[in-house]
């Protein structure tokens, strides 16, 4: 603001349109430089050729226009296809589980008394503020072969099953199951919070009206609550699915190394194999897979903000 008295022309510009232009341009330039440009680099890099130089890539050479070999490898090399299928499968399963656990919880939150609700909401948010890494780590402790939790489950299993099928422990660590479980655990608040925000706004008199017209509680849920909460379901599912599909930490810590996941593949190609072009091609392909969900998210976010705006104006 001190710059305002440099010259009358500048001052006039600053006082009128200038400030507005600065407000728009500063974050715009920043995001273009540090977010958009890196993605342009990723896309360009996926058509480059790996070389034993530093930085380890070059354009031209055997491939004068662009090198599409990496994309061909994506399809032909079994590793990548399996990694995509594992990642998308895990993310889908985790999203469904989050929905199955999170929906009744969110609905339950809207049905308890107001003072309880605030406490419970805080309890949903609390793990969200603690470290993601430490939450994954907590499960490593629980799933280990010697842990009380594993022993408890093993005891229950041996009690139910015939003696000849008894186990010394249940193998949980380093399995696909562990990845889904920990993903559900880590991303559950992302499902509950948008669902709660949506369900909380529903008019309870609609339920009463449906009941008054002869619906039983389950029918009320199916015919009224569920359709009206669809925006919350979509928002929550996308917030779980998109990051879960590219997840790196969870598969690295509790996953099995024989089940490749896309996040790890990108990271390994980049850091261990120093194959920038290949890592970029894998990343671009993941982005293409996520383009649909990403656009859906942007679209629904925009719509809900417009609704909020309309509500704010009325």
């Amino acid at each position: 603001m001190e710059a305002a008295h440099r010259s009358p022309g500048f001052r006039r510009w600053f006082n009128r349109r200038g400030w507005i232009k600065i407000t728009i341009a500063t974050p715009y330039v920043w995001l273009s430089l540090f977010f958009l440009l890196p993605f342009v680099i990723v896309i360009a890099m996926s058509f480059a050729t790996r070389t034993p130089t530093a930085p380890p890539f070059s354009f031209g050479g055997d491939y004068p226009v662009m090198n599409t070999n990496h994309y061909a490898r994506l399809i032909h090399d079994d590793l990548y296809v399996r990694a995509y299928l594992n990642s998308i499968g895990n993310a889908t399963l985790a999203t469904l589980m989050c929905l199955l656990i999170g929906y009744p919880m969110a609905l339950g939150l809207t049905r308890v008394s107001r003072s309880w609700r605030n406490v419970l909401l805080m309890l949903v948010i609390l793990p969200f503020w603690t470290s993601f890494l430490l939450r994954v780590y907590a499960w490593m402790g629980l799933m280990g072969t010697n842990s009380w939790f594993n022993k408890l489950l093993t005891g229950a299993y041996n009690w139910v099953m015939p003696a000849d099928m008894a186990l010394r422990y249940i193998p949980m660590m380093n399995t696909g199951f562990a990845v889904v479980l920990v993903t559900v655990y880590s991303y559950l608040p992302f499902m509950i919070l948008p669902l709660y925000a949506n369900l909380e706004k529903l008019d309870l008199s609609l339920n009463e009206a449906a009941m008054d017209l002869g619906s039983r509680p389950f029918q009320v849920f199916r015919d009224v609550t569920l359709p009206l909460s669809l925006p919350g379901i979509i928002a929550g599912s996308l917030l779980v699915f998109i990051p879960a599909s590219g997840e790196l930490i969870i598969p690295s810590l509790v996953g099995s190394s024989s089940r490749p996941m896309i996040g790890r593949v990108i990271s390994d190609e980049f850091a261990s194999a120093r194959d920038w072009p290949m890592a970029s091609a894998v990343a671009v392909a993941l982005l293409l897979l996520l383009v649909g969900p990403l656009m859906a998210y942007t679209y629904f976010e925009g719509k809900s903000l417009e609704k909020k705006k309309a509500e704010g104006e009325s």
């Binding site: 728009i24 500063t26 974050p27 995001l31 680099i41 655990y185 810590l253 990343a283 998210y297």
Partner: protein, 279 residues
């Protein structure tokens, strides 16, 4: 109809058990005397002692906080500007691209953002010579970029719910755009800006993946340190560290909740006052 929703309450209990049993177990085991992290060997506080005397951990924690404060502050400035631009300036060139730029980082898989940023920084070092090495600067730049959009989201949703007419009123009364922002917009959205800063701070403090890609030798943040340790398996001192984190965050959230509750009560009191004024 006053039937208690038994199923929903059961699910809530189950859900909260799911949320908290791992954390509580971790907290209990932080007082484990045994060297084996999962076998109970009597009560002990030795892991706290060893943790607090570990200079590496303390250094990493301080570095993390430095980066988090710095990046949250810049992210708040840039994110607030972007939020205001999105909510208040309806027509400018490139608005569609801009709105994509402020939404995409919210959901972008971190691995992709990580390698993309790293390649940018390497190429920048190669071609323009800045930032020359990877470390504090590059990590902070990356953190600012991906946490600013969270601030934007919070500020934007606060602004679209606020009455735009108050800003027009200020302009109508003779304030120039920058004065309107200083006198009206910023004070009105200050709670949103504060929670934006807090969110950016925690996101930065918590980040592993993007930091892992953009950091260099000698710049080890606390999450990176933990990451390198837990990759090797469960260790008792991490349990102690986790317990300290949970307790600090718990106290923070509790205080925030208490303050919010108090503000709510004050508001109710004011509304009553207004009602009496009506009589």
């Amino acid at each position: 109809m006053n039937r208690r929703p038994v199923f929903l309450i059961t699910m809530l209990c189950f859900g909260f058990a799911f949320f908290y049993i791992p954390i509580l177990s971790m907290m209990v085991y932080s007082f484990n005397g045994s060297r084996l992290a999962t076998v109970w060997g009597g009560f002990s506080t030795k892991w706290y002692v060893s943790l607090l005397s570990n200079r590496q951990v303390l250094k990493a924690a301080i570095l993390s906080i430095e980066i988090a404060v710095l990046s949250a502050t810049f992210a708040t400035i840039l994110g607030t500007m972007a939020g205001i631009a999105m909510a208040r300036f309806k027509r400018f060139r490139g608005r569609t691209l801009f709105s994509g730029l402020v939404t995409a980082p919210l959901v972008m898989p971190e691995v992709i953002t990580g390698i993309a940023s790293l390649m940018l920084f390497i190429l920048m070092a190669e071609y323009i010579g800045w930032p020359a090495t990877r470390g504090f600067t590059t990590v902070t730049l990356a953190h600012i970029t991906f946490s600013m959009v969270f601030v934007t989201t919070i500020v934007h949703s606060r602004l679209v719910q606020a009455d735009e007419a108050i800003e027009e009123a200020a302009m109508d009364l003779g304030s120039r755009p920058w004065q309107v922002m200083k006198d009206i917009t910023l004070p009105v959205i200050s709670p949103a800006i504060m929670s934006g800063w807090l969110l950016a701070f925690t996101i930065s403090l918590d980040d592993v993946v993007i930091t892992n890609f953009t950091t260099g030798p000698g710049t080890t943040t606390l999450p990176i340190l933990i990451w390198s340790k837990v990759k090797l398996g469960v260790t008792p001192d991490i349990n102690a560290l986790a317990t300290i984190t949970v307790v600090i965050v718990g106290i923070g959230v509790f205080i925030a909740g208490w303050l919010l509750n108090r503000a709510e009560k004050a508001r109710e009191h004011d509304i009553q006052l207004a009602y009496q004024a009506n009589q």
